[in-house]
Symmetry: C2
Subunit: 225 residues, 2 copies
């Protein structure tokens, strides 16, 4: 399977396919056409065919897609057919929220360790996992074959921690700190910049109001179109 040169936009859409296929599977539906899938997902059938063809295509002319097979194949493409071992750095509110979110575990992302620089929070446990001091992080990663580190710390300390993580042979960083991390290219970084997302929402609200003002299509309370 040619997996190189596949755009991040296509990759970004795969989890959504997985979600909808999982729902179809749960409903006991065995096959689906790209047209049916596009109706449910509110996208175009050609987009679906194009995206899935990137990975070799899984459909059959006149039959459509086998739901269970396609679901399993997308899981494999996303690397969800194996377990990922995670640590989280930062046991503040966000860190705690992430550890407590059990859906990640269902997908094979298992939190193994929690680290924090605040001695006051160390030795506490979150969902049964002990919070350890930062000094133990490097050894813990090596000894427990950790592949993903989650950064739920302020931007000031994130760059330094990322460098340490790179030295420990971590494979991926899920970064919630509001900063770009300077790590070697073989380490994968996925940013969740919450402020950026909120600003994008702010833009879309402003621009849709601007549009409705100029077009006069929406009335004062914005309820009808």
């Amino acid at each position: 399977m040619e997996e190189k040169e596949i755009s991040q936009a296509v990759i970004g859409r795969l989890p959504r396919y997985l979600r909808y296929l999982g729902e179809l599977k749960d409903e006991g539906i065995e096959r689906v056409s790209s047209q049916e899938l596009s109706d449910i997902m509110q996208t175009t059938a050609s987009q679906i065919r194009q995206d899935l063809n990137t990975f070799g295509g899984f459909g059959q002319q006149g039959y459509g897609y086998n739901v269970g097979y396609l679901y399993d194949e997308i899981r494999k493409i996303l690397g969800l057919d194996r377990e990922h071992r995670l640590i989280i750095v930062g046991a503040g509110h966000l860190g705690q929220a992430l550890v407590n979110y059990t859906n990640f575990e269902r997908r094979g992302f298992i939190f193994r360790g929690i680290f924090d620089c605040d001695p006051g929070i160390c030795e506490k446990t979150i969902r049964g996992i002990e919070v350890r001091p930062m000094e133990q992080m490097a050894d813990f990663i090596r000894e427990n074959d950790i592949d993903i580190a989650v950064l739920a710390i302020p931007k000031n300390s994130a760059v330094e921690v990322a460098k340490k993580l790179a030295d420990c042979g971590i494979k991926g960083i899920w970064n919630f700190a509001h900063v770009d991390l300077p790590v070697p290219e073989h380490i994968q970084v996925e940013n969740v910049h919450l402020s950026d997302s909120l600003m994008k929402l702010s833009y879309n609200i402003s621009s849709s109001q601007e549009e409705s003002r100029t077009s006069g299509k929406v009335d004062g309370n914005g309820q009808n179109r």
Copy 2:
């Protein structure tokens, strides 16, 4: 200024420009060329010029960009020159983490109310904000001129709450529930699907390992390239 037809990809990059320009401003730097900016941001100068030209261009040949002016203009484009009033639905771990994240406030996003369906948590306060029962949500939105609702609730209840929010005249929903919300088009939805982001990271880890296996460029511990 022509703001229509601007791709979400460009919009998505604006907060990052704002972040870097803010840092330059803090350092007392008054002007920057697209080349200098591209070096700091690890992107191309032509990408920067193209993105900013979308909004009419703010640079001058031979001078570059005035940092303070460009910063202010991007703030305006993003709708950050006015205050946004938010409520959050769901006072669980994630909801609490978001309310406690003070950076949003610095950008003009002010949490005014918190709502939860669990009577056990109602009347508690988070950062001085009282948690109210869901029944009070609609009136609260209208009386306090709330424009953004943050959904930090499970997917099962999110669709129903989104419909209620639409009826109250909310302008935008910042959705953390792992489901697509069926709301009218004039309501802006920005999704933060955390699981999807983690799956994308998983894909990139798998595919980079696959690549290094086939190319043989990376050795066993993944440290050199």
